[in-house]
């Protein structure tokens, strides 16, 4: 029989453990499953979007152990044992200051790139609390937006920088 006729290549599922937004998960998955699929389909965390699927647009940006990553380029086995933060994990009782900045400055339109943008800025400000405009551009260079022309996104980032500089809030970074 033609191998194609046998259907999808049978791959054994394995058990993986990971912490997602502070919650421990154990999941059976094919090791090469994209983390974006795992998040969206298994955990119903649909805030992480997939737009290109090849790591170019950043819509699937997440934090793995606090570091920025593309969920579409990460496989289940690579996430095993790690701590993952998605957009849904930012909000505690109130909105994260990055979320508030986007809300007030109009850093979004259709909103599809927004979770990824916010996560990417989260990673940037964690490493560089007072980034220059160039640093912000560099920090968001992996995230595409088709609606805003980036004006509102830049204004949102500048607002976060101002607020961190003024020390008006606990940074939480």
């Amino acid at each position: 029989m033609d191998i194609k006729e046998a259907g999808p290549f049978p791959v054994k599922k394995e058990q993986f453990r990971m912490t997602v937004n502070g919650q421990a998960w154990e999941v059976a998955a094919v090791p090469t499953t994209h983390l974006s699929d795992l998040l969206r389909k298994e955990f119903q965390l649909t805030g992480t979007k997939v737009s290109c699927g090849i790591g170019r647009c950043g819509a699937c940006s997440i934090l793995i152990d606090g570091k920025l990553a593309n969920a579409c380029m990460t496989m289940a086995y690579q996430a095993d044992g790690h701590s993952i933060t998605t957009i849904e994990g930012l909000q505690k009782e109130e909105l994260d200051m990055c979320q508030t900045a986007f809300l007030e400055e109009g850093g979004f339109q259709c909103g599809y790139c927004t979770p990824g943008m916010i996560i990417a800025l989260k990673a940037l400000f964690r490493e560089t609390p007072q980034p220059s405009d160039k640093d912000i551009e560099e920090g968001l260079a992996g995230n595409l937006c088709r609606c805003t022309g980036y004006g509102g996104i830049m204004r949102s980032a500048c607002r976060i920088r101002r607020e961190l500089n003024g020390g008006r809030r606990e940074s939480g970074f």
């Binding site: 737009s51 979320q99 805003t148 022309g149």
Partner: protein
Amino acid sequence: MIINKPSRVRPDGRGKVTGELKYMTDLSFPGMLYGKVLRSAYPHAEIVSVCTIKAEKMEGVQAVVTHKDVPGLNRFGIVIPDQPVLCEDRVRYVGDAIAAVAAETEEIAEAALELIQVEYKELEVMDSPEKALRPNAQRLHEDGNILHRAFFSNGDVEEGFQASDTVFEETYELPRQMHTYMETEGGVAVPEDDGGFTMYAGTQHGYKDRFQLARIFDIPEEKIRIVSSPMGGSFGGKDELNIQPYAALLALKSGRPVKIHQTRKESVRSGIKRHPMKITIKTGADHSGNLLAHDVKIVADTGAYATLGPAVLDFSVEHAAGPYRIPNIRTEGISVFTNNGVAGEFRGFGGNQITFALETHLDRLSGMLGIDPLELRRKNIRKPHDLGPLEHRIAPTDGAAQVLNAISKSPILKKTSRNCGYLQRGTGAAITMHGGGLGFGRMDAAGGRLSLSSEGKITASFGFEECGQGILAAIEQIVMEELGCAAEDISIVIGDTAKVPKSGSSTASRGTSMVWHAIQRLKKPFLAQLKKRAAEWSGCSAENLIPGAAGLRDKNTKALVVTYKELAEKGPLAEETAFDFPTTPDPVVGGHFLYSFGAAAVEVEVDLLTGDVKLIDCEHAIAAGPVVSPQGYRGQIEGGAAMALGYTLMEEAKMTDGRYAAENLDHYLIPGIKDVPDMKLIAIEDLMKGDVYGPRGVGEIGTIAITPAIVKAVHDAVGCWINKLPISREELLEAIDRKGLKQWT
């Protein structure tokens, strides 16, 4: 931006920044299957046979459909239904669908597609309008290879040319641009007990989808419910049907919900694009710069099927002289079927192509005449009460002169520092005029409803969709301003045919405008009903009550008399309206009535070593009536500009032999944050005295003038004229070399 209005947080903002908002492609239903569509392997071929037996037998596959499973009309198309839902015997582009599969997982569905055997007989690929127009060319459709011709003429161009001192002719080439909405097409079809279904999928006109799907399924429209909002961007690209028929066919056949969410690659292959056009312009002027004759020929590559191709061409023809009055004009357009994808509706709608050609042409002509380019425009600009571009009556407007004057004062155009070694800077400006609504002779009905919900919310219902443009914010703002209630008193319902009245499409810069018109019609009778009920409830006279935050208030003391919630306890209350988008009284098909105006001034930097062009600075002047929602207005103009920047400098969905050269965002590049500078915006809000048409939409106006402004600025920097977009670095470098600008080499 100078707008005397505070910015408000958008009603859909919280869900978007938290990731909690569910787009149609985020939905899941119990027992849901995943669907995949088999697209053609060839851009042009006969289908000899299709065999689905192996796919059907595959474990996990629940349904396979081909054209035999289409109960009604196996065609779609908003105006002309010429595109097969599932092809019977012939494919005309690489996105043509042949079969679709629903399976327990996406992986199984994808594997099952591989098992469908299609035997093709390849046909010659018509990969350009020139080829498709050859006398012996194979016919792509029964009526031949011409989708549409459009023509306009006034005066006598030959006489005009004879009277001209300078006559200049050039041909301009425009690329195929991809919408590149971040959310690719997708959604879920859920079968319902009555034999119908609910389609959860983004579109720009839910009721039109319902009409088209009813025709395909041969069932009454009422059996189909369309939930079409929110969407992760559309820009015209989801106006036509995309995955809806396949998800619904599979759902009805399997009896289970079916989700299809196209990958980017599938989206590139099947989705519509902006029309590539070749535009030849010949313009004559006298020595003092009066334009005397304008002869324009437009050839559009419309691809394999019609969708809104005819209307796009009509729009280009209409805007061929833009905001200028030229006594002798002749414009001829032809839209040609090819095997190059499908071109259709895209933000700007034919205006982008023609305006690039027109404005660049005028810049070049001004150089020959030795007249300042903005002065040349000023000499020929339309006056407030002039007829429209098709010699038809339009709503009087001074927008053209307003944006031209405003942009003439831009500090960008006064910049003098130009030269920094191998980086050369230049500046340029351009203006545009853009019709709103669908135009005369096209079905362009609008409407809306105000009601009091049982929870005491003033509910505004419209058949519009939130694509990202901010229609929810516009509705909230207009209802607040016109009724006098608070944002907390309002609930908004859109994008669900089970709940909303017909409002027409969320296209053509018409949404905000139509909401304003609807509320103008609704507010008086709705408030009268509220007041009557409040008067009965409170014993106050209706004249002494005015609507305010939380309820009706005493006109003088502003004290709360009765809350909306209390009024709602007395039962439902609603007002509905239906009307048409205002049109010209003159029967000119496609002619618009309400126009908006835009201008852009830009500074660019050209790298003489790499040919790279970078936008350094940018200012817009927009005249589109009062600003409804400041954040939304600004976002539309800035976002539109970025999209135009991509169109000018980097984007082309190139096709070779009928196949896309770039399949994803690694090769099809759109602007990133480093490509777009901070932009300034002048919003000119005043309308002509007595204008009763309120705010015009700004969804498209920001996408148009930027392109010719950049091209002018490149010329200013390096002295090379561009007549083909996107600006090719290689061609620009060659031109720079020919000019001998690299003096150090």
